[in-house]
């Protein structure tokens, strides 16, 4: 009896403790193939990905996912170039997708999308998340999660100024800003209504936002920028200078520019509780949905007051009013590498990761972004701060998107941002020439890329 119990204990120990260890050995023996995925996230951010992999492997025991974490896309790019590509990699942003499509860095997914296990992109994703992932009819990436931009406004300052609703167009934005802007005794800006200034915080104001507001075209053709041919760009630049003059300079652009430069120099920490919207230094600002997660709760000990704020789609120009409700949308994208060892296996996992509602919601919650499929956006499981509702609506608006895809990545946007900086500093009195110079730089860059 003693020996029997001893034997049974040993067997129980082996299966009880050893089984989890052995299962890692057993499963690969059953898995007929594997897929390597390089994730740029690390530490706590990997949790939802690990959960997604576990669910996928449970449903697909023949395919093993080998996940590596903390590998940014530049390393994936180097590996692809060296012929040692992972099957799947991720990039933050849609800027370079056209480049990846054109160079086949990420393979064309059309054969998979149209195949037996494929699906119609528009049936799964809102248009805004995929419109910029195609270059010359080739789709080489799928969205994982997405960001969106909208207008944050200080409700308390609005109430004080007697403004009942967020501005819907640029005329209202100008008038509301005049009402909201306050000056100190020495003439410096105390509260800014709105700050259309390149370099004021990271992401809300720039060429992409301006193009969306004024419906300015990026390209006449893949080789030719529309910067100097589309009058909407010129209208936008003139509006910005007029805004600075009227709101901050009492009609004088250089006065307004000087005051605004000093105001921007004193901006609070973008990622802390002294951020200008939070502190009431600015009444309205365009920012991404992540700002909701950064709004601080009331903390009298550290002099932080609760912020009474709301979110609305950012205003459009008066000639572009039909686009109101749409916005700037773009986020994390993923694709299958050129030279991937197992592209068909990679497609199975890629499809799962980018379309599984539970996985996408968990990832979006962990990374403080928005899931990119229609099903996830409408799912009751997707619980979010009420302030995020506007962003969810923006993502689902068919007019939303990012900038036009280009083989020069975000170089076009950077060059136009530099032009906007020169114009806001009054460094280019001949606006037409400055625009033409930037146009030819963009066209040269495209020629260099081709």
């Amino acid at each position: 009896m003693k020996n029997f119990l001893k034997t049974m204990s040993i067997i129980s120990l082996i299966f009880g403790v050893g089984a989890p260890v052995f299962s890692n050995w057993i499963q690969p023996a059953f898995a007929t193939s594997s897929v390597t995925v390089w994730f740029p996230w690390s530490q706590g951010d990997t949790t939802p990905f690990k959960a997604a992999i576990a669910r996928f492997e449970a449903k697909n025991p023949d395919l093993r996912i080998i996940a590596k974490y903390g590998i940014t896309f530049d390393k994936s790019l180097a590996a692809i170039n060296a012929g040692k590509a992972p099957d799947i990699s991720f990039d933050f942003g849609v800027d370079n997708v056209a480049r990846y499509c054109a160079s086949n860095t990420w393979i064309n997914l059309n054969p998979y999308l149209g195949g037996k296990s494929g699906f119609k992109i528009n049936d799964v994703f809102p248009r805004s998340t995929t419109v910029d992932l195609t270059y010359k009819s080739d789709t080489c990436a799928l969205p994982l999660t997405t960001d969106a931009f909208a207008l944050f406004y200080n409700q308390a300052l609005f109430n004080k100024a007697g403004i009942s609703a967020a501005p819907k167009n640029t005329d209202q934005l100008l008038e509301d800003s005049i009402k909201l802007t306050k000056f100190n005794a020495d003439g410096s800006i105390k509260t800014a209504g709105f700050v259309p200034w390149m370099g004021y915080y990271c992401c809300g104001w720039g060429a992409s936002t301006v193009a969306k507001i004024w419906n300015a075209k990026w390209y006449e053709s893949p080789e030719q920028t529309a910067l100097s041919s589309d009058p909407n760009w010129q209208t936008a630049f003139s509006w910005i200078q007029n805004f600075i003059a009227r709101v901050y300079g009492n009609g004088n652009f250089m006065k307004g520019e000087t005051k605004l430069l000093k105001f921007v120099a004193g901006a609070g920490d973008e990622w802390g509780c002294s951020q200008d919207l939070q502190s009431g230094r600015t009444a309205m600002t365009i920012d991404g949905e992540w700002r909701v997660g950064y709004i601080c709760q009331s903390d009298p000990k550290h002099n932080v007051a609760a912020l009474n704020y709301d979110v609305a789609p950012f205003p459009t120009s008066t000639s572009n009013s039909v686009a109101y409700g749409s916005g700037l949308v773009g986020g994390i994208v993923t694709g299958i590498s050129k030279g991937a060892p197992n592209p068909s296996g990679a497609w199975r996992f890629l499809k799962y990761l980018t379309t599984d509602t539970q996985s996408l919601i968990e990832i979006a919650n962990q990374l403080h972004t928005i899931p990119s499929t229609t099903a996830a956006l409408k799912s009751k499981q997707f619980k979010f701060d009420p302030h995020l509702r506007t962003f969810v609506q923006i993502v689902q608006n068919p007019g939303s998107g990012y900038k036009a895809p280009s083989v020069i990545g975000r170089q076009d946007e950077d060059l136009i941002n530099q032009l906007m900086t020169k114009l806001q500093m009054g460094q280019s009195p001949n606006v037409k020439k400055a625009v033409e110079d930037t146009s030819s730089q963009i066209n040269s860059a495209i020629k260099m890329s081709n």
Binding site: R99, Y201, L261, G266, Q418, T421, K422, S444, M448
Partner: protein, 286 residues
């Protein structure tokens, strides 16, 4: 010898040869390099306004950083050489900032020179300056802000000049003092000429460092979200073109142009040294 040869080949010679070849190709990392001849070089000189902006900023930087470095290092070393009793403490005190990592020092200075809540502008307000500079937020002042940042780390140059001062023969100065020559004239006409080899060394290394200047300008541009390109230097341009836009062939060509510029200026400086550098062990007259 073999480890050195291997290291030289793997880390210097081969990368240089590959980079030279890449400079004549269209190479965007995503596709294999494609031979285009001198196209990259022609593009740089004829169609790239950012190159000329970066070159102007870099030459400005080289000139003023060398001047500032010489002035401050010589002054500090001269004072320390006179006060030999307290020299060790002050020498350490002046050298310490040079030990702080560059990025950390840069971020600290972004706060120090913040126009609204930084201590420098608070002091300027206190002494009655109505509109102090906006430093890194104003393209007219941003490079001057970088210059102030660079002088914080003059410890290494100061040490070299201090060694130079301590190595000067006393006899010439004593004879001049006996003849009634003033301290200032002794400094200008005896000490400085004897220090010209050290000055020459500082200028040469200053030229190398100036052409390689990158980190502080890049970090400050991000901290102040500068879009005006006032802190855009040649190495910034190489980095942006190569690693942000993936124009590796173009960036390689920029790198070789940078190398040639450094070489030309260094050769010119060496050619001029006969006219103004005094090596006292070669028996040349002052």
């Amino acid at each position: 010898m073999l480890p050195w040869i291997l290291g030289f080949l793997l880390l210097d010679a081969i990368p240089m040869i590959v980079s030279f070849y890449d400079s004549f190709t269209k190479f965007n990392i995503l596709n294999p390099p494609k031979w285009v001849g001198f196209k990259n070089y022609i593009e740089i000189f004829t169609s790239d306004p950012l190159f000329w902006l970066a070159l102007r900023n870099t030459l400005w930087w080289i000139l003023f950083s060398i001047l500032a470095r010489l002035l401050l290092a010589i002054t500090t070393a001269a004072i320390l050489a006179k006060n030999r009793g307290n020299m060790k403490i002050f020498r350490t005190f002046f050298f310490l900032p040079a030990m702080i990592p560059t990025v950390a020092a840069t971020i600290i200075f972004a706060f120090i020179l913040n126009p609204v809540y930084g201590p420098i502008n608070s002091f300027l307000h206190f002494i009655g300056v109505k509109n102090p500079p906006l430093w890194f937020y104003d393209p007219h002042w941003s490079k001057w802000g970088l210059l102030i940042l660079s002088t914080w780390g003059i410890g290494d140059s100061m040490i070299i000049f201090l060694a130079g001062f301590l190595d000067l023969p006393d006899q010439l100065e004593q004879v001049a003092e006996l003849d009634g020559v003033s301290a200032w004239k002794r400094f200008i006409h005896i000490k400085i000429p004897l220090l010209t080899p050290v000055i020459f060394f500082t200028i040469i290394t200053g030229v190398f460092q100036g052409f390689q200047y990158f980190t502080q300008g890049f970090v400050i541009s991000s901290e102040s979200t500068d879009s005006s390109n006032s802190m855009y230097f040649l190495n910034t341009h190489i980095y942006i073109m190569g690693f942000k836009y993936f124009y590796m062939g173009y960036a390689s060509a920029l790198g070789w142009i940078l190398m040639c510029l450094t070489l030309v200026i260094t050769i010119l400086l060496f050619k001029t040294q006969n006219k103004w550098v005094y090596y006292h062990n070669q028996g040349k007259k002052l």
